[in-house]
Symmetry: C2
Subunit: 473 residues, 2 copies
């Protein structure tokens, strides 16, 4: 798993063995099979709850966007036009104007907000959309980068910069909390450099996660758009002094690439390792030994299954005819969080065997305490995965590399080069040079870096920023 | 509201005044504003829960479908090809094969099921998808018929016809239960005639609802597809005797047209009337009189708001500066289910005024009992709306019209001709003749008609079926 290619091979095999996805005949478009989609449903539920608690409401905007809309914000069209698929005909006739499949909805929403926002009383306008989006990219990787993917995009409008920036930060904080607490993925939050900014944003902020091959995934972004889209789409409001002003807008998104991230952060050579909070199967119950001769074993497991269901725990009972070894493999591949084994001898002794997916050791548990132990173990495992992931990340984060030569040496010497925290003078040339020579790009300027750097890794002049550099998906 | 045009005008004004939707520059594509989308979220939650309780899981399939897939089932392509939008270019290059925006997903899912289904152990395969779909229709009406809409489509595969037919009926029964209990819309369930069948189905079953202009809306459909798609996409399984057989498939769907239906069934001249179970605002609290001079009024309302929120009731407090009359109108337009008014005198007397959206009378309620009364009133109103809708439907359902001449006379004499239950000989010619002469089409052959008919309304020969005829959306 240490070479990039091996890691990718492992990833592709793992998500297929676990039946999370399948390929389709449409280039770069995957299908989300039930276990893959269910991980997304858990992410959705957690995000949606927090969006609503912070005053946002869901809406739905058209998927097709007229070409002329894209022309209105020049950075936006430059950023997205190379990736757009176009509808050019419908119902047997050519269209007068091409319609893009949305890559993101700032333009359509800008158009509508200009109709809906009249006065400060209409602000803040806090909407979110759950939707499919399209970016026709050359290189694709299931979940991480696909032609069609699922996401949420929040779009808000505010009276002034201060409120819009507060919103931008609030949503980034929600992303960080969900990704850490639900997906057990530690992230660094920070500011994107200009070259990595969303097309049309004044400022882009991100949370960045480290995969097990040391590469970074941008796990969520939140943008302060200033008045750029307000000017492009004429979104003005009458303020308390009866003056017309442009609104300040934000947008923020997370996508199904989080599914890919959770697999690349926690998975191992046996298959998926999923944090219990999102695991489609939190507990798999398995009779072992000659259980068909002892009907009381299946009866007991059915009783346990019922008791766990009542607790809201996602449980499966595997009473198929396959061998125990086959079943162990299968549920390890699929990332069932806990396995409970019950055989004739254990039954006689009033006990079961419990094994957590991410640990080697099994434990023997008294049947009378099983439900309580399972509840505790699920919580402990959730916390443990975050700790393990943080340990891995910190072990592969390097904070003492301060020149390009050092970085190149480090890359050659280390199978997983990971991330490096380095100073940057702020010039696009230096950023570009680092990228060309090492494939390391700026991930973000962390709000809370482990240390502050004083010299630029490239020109070795005074640093303006302390930046995470990494190879990225 | 008695002329078709007036009713449509009323409908279009009502959904815009209530801020359920807005038009967009893309032909036939609307935007779902928060209150409109929230109605859909409540429908989704109820449906999704029942789908999962009956063993279905959600998945997501690509939106783009290769043209060649449509060619594989000839009835299917004939039915859908006139309405398809096509992606012909992406990322600056023409595509080798046109890709349709899905109008429904039988073809893509058929392709994938042929990969996933190998043995009887893989059956039944019970999946559902929540998605956007496209049908580029000439005449559109917001929510009811739009170029893009949201829906769920269930797709299942079974070992044999019996199981597949049971599934088809089970899902139709779930639709009926949700539409009656959640949306308070009474429906007739029954079989579609051949001319109204889903393109590619062996049998289509529907639930049909009557709008306030007497027209019908097909509120949900469930299809037994036989082995047609299995043959087209080669979906075979090895049965218990080690023989290869085609699976029997079903599909079933409900869509955002349910939002339009609930408005056209319950709305009135003041605006929306929404069943409490789906109303975005179940209770609106309103201070009346000179409440700014009496801060205890707003304090009390805030206390009530908090108590209702704890109960899970969707409540809003309107403490804006507008006049009481303005606020009454606004919340009537938006269909808040209950209005609670509190003024200085009522406050002194320890009481509030409660008014249900669909009733004329207000009631005075002791403050100490308010929460209990609100919970009860919401339930009573939910039931009352179903009773009212059933009364309207039955009053406009005619079961004694047995000839075309009678039907024509009835249509001329009655501002809301409604539905007629009539015999039908089973010939497509008779069905077509009724349609041409009266615009009445067959809605369905109800499973449980009020009476059985013996002669065909058109040819007056012996009837094969007793059928609901109506004008339909």
């Amino acid at each position: 798993m240490q070479q990039e290619n091996e890691f990718t091979k492992w990833y592709l095999k793992t998500i297929q063995d676990a039946e999370l996805m399948d390929y389709t005949p449409v280039r770069g478009c995957i299908t989300f099979r039930p276990d893959g989609y269910e991980i997304w449903e858990h992410i959705q539920a957690a995000m949606d709850q927090r969006f609503k608690e912070t005053g946002h409401r869901n809406a739905y905007f058209p998927m097709l966007i007229p070409e002329s809309f894209f022309q209105k914000e020049k950075d936006h069209i430059e950023g997205f036009s190379p990736e757009l698929p176009w509808v050019t005909e419908a119902a047997g006739e050519p269209l007068e104007e091409r319609l893009a499949l949305r890559p993101t909805s700032e333009t359509m929403i800008g158009h509508l907000y200009s109709k809906w926002v009249k006065s400060y009383r209409d602000l803040p306008l806090l909407l979110n959309q759950w939707a499919n989006v399209f970016r026709w990219e050359k290189k694709t990787l299931p979940f991480i980068r696909t032609s069609e993917f699922l996401w949420q995009e929040g779009h808000t409008a505010h009276e002034n910069e201060e409120e819009a920036r507060q919103e931008t930060m609030q949503m980034l904080a929600i992303y960080k909390e969900v990704v850490e607490n639900l997906l057990a993925i530690p992230v660094y939050d920070g500011t994107k450099t200009a070259s990595e900014r969303f097309a049309g944003a004044v400022d882009t902020f991100s949370i960045e996660a480290m995969m097990k091959d040391g590469k970074a995934v941008q796990a969520g972004t939140s943008h302060y758009l200033g008045t750029k889209f307000a000017e492009a789409f004429d979104i003005k409001y009458l303020n308390r002094n009866n003056e017309h002003h442009y609104v300040h807008t934000t947008s923020w998104g997370t996508s199904t690439r989080l599914i890919g991230s959770v697999i690349m952060v926690h998975g191992d050579e046996k298959g998926l390792v999923l944090p219990p909070k999102i695991a489609p199967t939190q507990v798999v119950l398995m009779p072992v030994g000659p259980f068909k001769k002892h009907p009381e074993i299946l009866e007991k497991l059915e009783e346990i299954q019922q008791a766990l269901k009542v607790k809201g725990i996602r449980v499966k009972l595997d009473d198929t005819d396959q061998t125990a070894g086959f079943k162990f493999n299968k549920w390890e591949q699929k990332g069932a969080a806990l396995r409970v084994e019950l055989g004739p001898r254990d039954y006689q002794n009033g006990q079961v065997i419990v094994k957590a997916r991410d640990e080697e050791d099994k434990q023997t548990v008294n049947l009378a305490q099983l439900i309580t132990v399972i509840e505790e173990e699920l919580e402990v495992m959730q916390a443990r995965l975050l700790t393990k992931a943080r340990g891995f990340r910190d072990a592969h984060s390097h904070i003492t590399i301060d020149s390009l030569a050092q970085l190149q040496q480090h890359i050659e010497a280390t199978p997983i080069p990971g991330w490096i925290l380095a100073g940057w003078c702020g010039s696009a040339d230096c950023e570009q040079k680092v990228k060309e020579q090492t494939k390391f790009t700026t991930r973000n300027i962390p709000f809370d870096p482990p240390v502050q750097k004083t010299t630029c890794i490239c020109c070795e002049q005074q640093a303006q920023h302390t930046v995470w550099f990494a190879r990225a998906y």
